[in-house]
Symmetry: C2
Subunit: 207 residues, 2 copies
């Protein structure tokens, strides 16, 4: 089967967040594509197609089983697995990521935090001891870590990327301002620089 496209994956995450929140509010065991679509401001056909793409089949006249849908999404997106990660870069944003308690429900666990500068090393950030960068590669190797999260003030240099990849990392989640080009086979997700949003806002606010 075709791998799922990024846009589909992102929508699946949104369906999942909507459905789990909705379950907390109301007890209904089923949901229609129209209800999901309305909440997320997209087309109902899109919702049905996405759910069909992961093997879900709705019931005429009542819609989709919420538990079944949540379970299927969880499995497809790998939330039922444990994803161990290292954080590299322990500035303010790194602290936010370390402190964020919401990751665990998606299977993500930050196992260690590494900081470049002398000053950082040994300090505690959000309850995590900051380890020296030297210790990163051995840690990743021995713990078989597959995900690295990059945050400022990390510079994602060629050398750092090479070290991560040879240590065995298979995905990079990049929160630094620099775009990272992925080595083949390695997934790189560049979270947009803050400022990108400003382009739309500045244009709108402009006289």
């Amino acid at each position: 089967m075709e791998p799922l496209k990024r846009l589909v994956l992102e929508r699946l995450m949104e369906y999942y967040r909507f459905l789990t929140e909705r379950t907390a509010r109301m007890a209904s065991p089923t949901v229609t594509s129209a209800q999901i679509a309305k909440a997320l401001d997209i087309d109902p056909t899109q919702v049905r197609k996405d759910l069909a793409a992961i093997g879900l089949t709705g019931m005429g006249r009542v819609g989709f089983d919420v538990h079944e849908a949540c379970y299927a999404i969880r499995v497809v997106l790998g939330f039922d697995q444990k994803h161990e990660a290292v954080l590299i870069g322990t500035g303010h944003l790194g602290g936010v990521l370390l402190a964020y308690s919401g990751f665990a429900r998606y299977g993500l666990h930050i196992m260690a935090a590494f900081g470049g500068g002398e000053e950082a090393t040994g300090r505690k950030v959000a309850g995590h001891r900051v380890r020296p960068m030297k210790a990163m590669k051995p840690f990743v190797k021995t713990h078989r870590i597959r995900l690295a999260i990059l945050a400022p003030p990390t510079e994602p240099s060629e050398r750092l990327l090479r070290r991560l990849v040879t240590a065995g990392v298979q995905a990079i989640w990049n929160f630094t301002p620099s775009q990272v080009a992925g080595p083949p086979g390695i997934l790189v997700r560049n979270e947009q620089h803050f400022s990108v949003g400003l382009s739309e806002i500045g244009y709108h606010l402009k006289r």
Copy 2:
């Protein structure tokens, strides 16, 4: 003339960041669409179209004048104006936004920070005194603030949005996990929830 689409605006911001960084590294007064395209991994035709859309015209055989291009983008995206903003929500992420020194070069200035809880009020976050939410509306009105930045733990309730809009806010930059639906005429930019990126990563890492 047609208003520029969001995707075009975002690419313009990326061109701008690339060109300004590049100028710091090398002195060349011109740049070709192919050079920009290669650095940003897009098609050169796209670059030429985007630049044409804001009135820039290149020179055969040499490309575009870097200073001219930067200036034009700055004007179109409103970086040459002063955008005054209030921040609502002074958790960790709010602190990151307050501390971020890079906004000023895009014309963005956070003039005041407001926090909901009693505990927050009066504390200092990144050098800013946290003001009580009650003070938000008068502040926005008297200073004619046009942009509100929302950060956790703010809940973007209907009531809060109404208050912002009646106070005169014209754009909302939303960093909370909740999607905000824009009242007509008001631009809302929802920065994706952290977890959206995890969908792609989880799918890739899944065994």
